[in-house]
């Protein structure tokens, strides 16, 4: 930081070194990656384009739809309005990290059982938001489910099946699989 401070101290100097790439470390789904990023690069760009994990989706790219939701230090954040630099040294989880090898997580299974997946484009973000909820509150109420998923838009399912999936995954309400 001291170096940085001295650099902005002189305006000319700042202009010359503007927007250089920096090396950051991200622990994505348990694997460390060292990547060069520019200040303007968003987390979603780095995860999808540099690291190559394309499960998280870029949809509105303005923080309104939730398709790019990923966990940063366990918090569900929007990758499209998070600077990658802000995540240096942090633990990140994406949809690719939810299954344990071939074994799907209960919320992934529940999405399939309940017909909570149609086009699938909101699904990765939706699963991440639901995962964060269930880690925090293993038996969420309907209202808590709504509050946890209100930032994830879905145009296909009408949300009912998604709520049922969260209920199934949390073992509540006697929700049984509708698809086999």
């Amino acid at each position: 930081m001291d170096m940085a401070t001295s650099r902005v101290a002189g305006g000319d100097n700042a202009a010359r070194t503007k927007s250089r790439s920096r090396l950051i470390s991200l622990c994505v789904n348990g694997e460390w990656h060292e990547v060069a990023v520019k200040p303007r690069n968003m987390l979603i760009e780095v995860i999808r384009d540099t690291i190559g994990l394309t499960g998280s989706k870029a949809s509105c790219e303005s923080g309104t739809c939730g398709a790019c939701t990923m966990l940063v230090e366990d918090r569900p954040v929007l990758g499209c309005i998070t600077l990658a630099l802000e995540c240096d040294g942090k633990r990140i989880e994406t949809v690719e990290g939810l299954a344990d090898g071939e074994k799907l997580s209960p919320i992934q299974e529940a999405f399939l059982d309940q017909g909570a997946v149609q086009c699938g484009f909101c699904t990765p973000g939706m699963l991440i938001s639901a995962t964060a909820l269930l880690r925090d509150k293993p038996k969420p109420t309907r209202e808590e489910i709504n509050k946890a998923l209100e930032g994830n838009l879905c145009r296909c399912t009408g949300y009912n099946a998604i709520v049922d999936a969260v209920m199934q995954a949390s073992g509540q309400g006697g929700v049984k699989a509708v698809m086999k």
Binding site: G55, A58, S59, E61, C65, T94, V117, G120, G158, V178
Partner: protein, 789 residues
């Protein structure tokens, strides 16, 4: 063996595991080395002449690899409709003038987004601003700014007519004269958008005289046809690859300029070019649905029987023909299917305005038409003192009824749907309750019904689907289908059919889909016919393979093929199950004794095989479909009469989808349509000003969130059956169920409050204004005023 193992069951999605693990590849996930980024220069004016365009500064920018304008194209036009009456009317880039904000003028390919963006800023254009017009009724007036010349065959007194539909039967004037009660109403709907989560995106790579394209679409063969045409390439030089598609709802059928531009820029640079539309571009420059104005005059007998109906539809079609001329044809169709109308006169106008071009959207006009008709139906019923169920049953078309266009309702179950909906919702007991005896507090509950009907698998290019089933040595099967899974579950449904017909497991079926070079032609996921048309092709292909298996088995076993049956990849003798051969053995035998025949089944299907082509958009003559799906939907709403806020509490959908191949997927379509209809009814509107979009984002364009779901119940009036080896009839279920529920919500708001809304959305502000008007009228009665003549 009549018991079905897979068909008719809620089998899990074939694409499900890939979609919940992030492995499913969408177009934005396809990465090619050395890819250039393309961006499009769009018009900042609604109507202006391009006097001069200079791209030299952009071309000179370091990192820019190509810049194209209309001068770099072959000048070949395209259109959603391409018929002799309605020839293609749009170029891929603007020539000479722009007619809407956001119209594509030029495109650049550069090494990255920033460079591409900078290059757009270096394209110099000299404009001459022209007067613009946005309101369709203003645009129709003589002397309005002319966007394109009126269609040569359109009625002369109007301006800016892109097309019109006229039809009539019986004698409406005589019908009105003979009617006991006649009323005339005008209805309007707001501008809404599709709201697919996946943005428009195209990756094109010209390599070895072949254009490889990945694009978010609703039908790869339609895309190939249009793209090859505007590029002037043979179809064999254009390959559209399969990708998963993140939602479409009608908005990804047409050829879009960015698809051409990515392709052309790749051909020029020899490098892959990707163009992604931003959400703002999608909102402000791409295609929305069509806001209709409907004027309806209806005459009925004392008992509510419709005698005559006259309908005038005006479509604000935007700046090119788009699907505007289709909507005014369909608006007639959605009028005449559910109820008998002995005398009808219909005229529809598709009017050019300086708005963005319009595309089909789920329902393609039906929500607006059914909202209008079903609202008026309730008004008529009230005036006559008839309940909403009786008046609908009185007019509902029967099974086997002949329609004016020559179609037949076959086993259509509208009356059964209405009756079951009434019974399950207890509508007649609830109807009018809160108006008769208002409860304490400010919440009023209301109930309403709406009906709808939708066609399936109508003839339009490519008209038919073919499917190939390749047997593997071990008895499993590879299915080649052009069907594209946009989320509706086509790959799952096709797998169920093939597994059923071949008596193999769901896991034995692997689908190769939606690749124009590899898979046979397919109608695409956009005319509500995939389960019927492609599904029957798949059934036929699998059946064809099964017959070959049985034939070889019969030869080997020395028994007639009709004495054999199949189960779990084994052929048995019907009477002596000990006599059997596995598929593996049969296929080995076929290769050995049938000159290497590995057993490949072929199937193909087309609706209405006696009909030469689709009906006339202008005159409505010609048949439309053999698969009318009917539905009745009930809405229960709550309205806060102090704030005007209304919400859907419960929806009931009773539908006749023929035979449900996968009931859970049917339910998924219903729930999604209820949610979209909630958006239409209470929340969504693209707000525009002078052709600019004021709310090009999801904060201010209010698509339903998880807070806005309602209880959604459904019941299926099953009127068809599926039998192995027999053609089956499924009907439309993916877009017909968005309309009755919209109308039902309008009727339910009325039931709750007495406020009859003639336009959507049913905003709090409109409901409050309606309540005030009622209050005012109650305080200031006008002597001698009739209810409404």
């Amino acid at each position: 063996m009549s018991e079905l193992n897979y068909v008719g069951k809620s089998m899990k999605r074939k694409d499900g595991p890939d979609k919940v693990t992030g492995k499913a590849v969408y177009t934005q996930d396809v990465k090619l080395p050395n890819t250039l980024i393309g961006r499009i220069l769009r018009s900042p004016h609604a109507h202006a002449r391009i006097l001069r365009i200079d791209t030299s500064r952009a071309k000179a920018l370091s990192g820019v690899k190509a810049v194209i304008t209309v001068e770099d194209t072959k000048g070949i036009k395209h259109g959603f409709v391409e018929t002799p009456r309605y020839p293609p009317d749009q170029e891929v880039l603007a020539r000479g003038k722009v007619v809407h904000v956001g119209e594509e003028i030029a495109a650049v390919a550069a090494v990255d987004q920033i460079t591409a963006q900078k290059a757009l800023g270096l394209i110099d254009i000299e404009w001459e601003i022209l007067p613009a017009v946005f309101d369709p009724e203003e645009a129709m007036k003589q002397g309005a700014p002319e966007i394109h010349p009126s269609h040569p065959k359109a009625p002369g007194k109007h301006s800016n007519i892109g097309g019109n539909t006229e039809t009539e039967w019986g004698d409406v004037e005589k019908g009105f004269a003979e009617s006991h009660y006649v009323r005339e109403d005008r209805f309007e709907c707001q501008l809404r958008t599709h709201g697919y989560l996946e943005p428009h995106v195209t990756l094109a790579h010209w390599e070895s005289d072949k254009l490889n394209v990945w694009t978010s679409s609703m039908g790869v063969f339609v895309k190939r046809a249009k793209l090859a045409k505007v590029l002037d390439l043979p179809y064999s030089s254009v390959r559209i690859h399969k990708t998963y598609v993140g939602g479409t709802f009608g908005g990804k059928i047409d050829l879009y300029s960015h698809e051409y531009c990515a392709s052309r820029l790749s051909m020029i640079t020899g490098r892959p070019v990707q163009i992604t539309a931003s959400r703002e571009e999608i909102f402000s420059a791409y295609r929305h649905a069509q806001p209709l104005i409907l004027e309806i005059k209806t005459g009925v007998k004392k008992d509510g029987t419709i005698v005559a109906q006259r309908i005038r539809a005006i479509n604000n079609a935007g700046a090119f023909r788009g699907s505007g001329v289709v909507v005014i044809f369909l608006a007639w169709g959605f009028t005449m299917i559910p109820y008998r109308i002995p005398n009808l006169k219909y005229e529809g106008f598709s009017v050019y305005t300086n708005h963005t071009v319009r595309a089909p959207q789920r329902g393609h006009g039906a929500p607006k038409v059914r909202f209008a008709i079903e609202s008026q139906m309730d008004m008529i019923a009230e005036a006559l003192g008839i309940d909403p169920i009786t008046i609908r049953l009185r007019n509902a078309r029967e099974p086997g009824e002949q329609l004016p266009n020559g179609d037949n309702t076959h086993n259509g179950g509208l009356a059964a749907c209405v009756a079951l909906a009434a019974e399950k919702s207890d509508l007649l007991a609830k109807f009018g309750r809160d108006r008769k005896s208002p409860p304490k507090g400010t919440i009023r509950r209301g109930i309403g019904i709406g009906t709808s009907a939708y066609m399936g698998g109508t003839l339009i290019y490519p008209n038919g689907s073919a499917v190939i089933v390749k047997m593997n040595d071990d008895g499993s099967a590879i299915v080649l289908t052009g069907a594209i899974d946009i989320g509706q579950g086509s790959e799952t449904v096709i797998s169920q059919i093939v597994a059923e017909e071949l008596s193999i497991g769901m896991d034995d079926v692997k689908i190769i889909s939606a690749d124009t070079d590899v898979t046979p032609q397919d109608i695409g996921a956009w005319i509500s016919g995939m389960t019927y048309v492609t599904g029957n092709a798949a059934r036929q292909a699998a059946g064809n393979a099964r017959e070959k298996l049985l034939q070889v088995a019969a030869e080997k076993m020395g028994v007639p093929a009709e004495n054999l049956l199949t189960k779990d990849k084994v052929v048995y003798h019907r009477l002596n199950p000990e006599l059997k051969m596995t598929y593996r053995e049969i296929i080995a035998a076929s290769v050995a004794t049938h000159r290497g025949d590995t057993i490949i089944g072929e199937g193909f299907w087309r609706t209405m095989r006696d009909e030469p082509t689709h009906p006339s958009l202008a005159t409505t003559k010609g048949r439309w479909t053999e698969n009318y799906a009917f539905s009745a939907q009930v809405a229960e709403v709550e309205v806060d009469i102090e704030t005007g806020e209304a919400r859907l509490v419960k929806a009931l959908t009773v539908h006749d989808c023929g035979f449900p191949i996968n009931p859970a997927l049917v339910k998924g379509q219903i729930d999604g349509q209820i949610s979209m209809a909630i958006g239409h009814a209470f929340m969504e509107e693209v707000l525009t000003k002078d052709g600019y979009t004021r709310n090009p984002n999801w904060l201010d364009y209010r698509m339903p969130t998880i807070h806005n779901m309602a209880i959604s119940e459904d019941a299926d009036v099953i009127t068809e059956q599926y039998r192995v080896g027999q053609p089956y009839r499924t009907k439309e279920v993916g877009e017909g169920l968005i309309s009755g529920i919209l109308a039902a919500m309008g009727n339910a708001v009325y039931d709750a409050t007495g406020v009859r809304l003639h336009s959507t959305p049913f905003s709090a502000e409109k409901i409050l204004a309606g309540l005030r008007a009622i209050e005012y009228a109650a305080k200031n009665p006008k002597p001698g005023e009739k209810i409404r003549a």
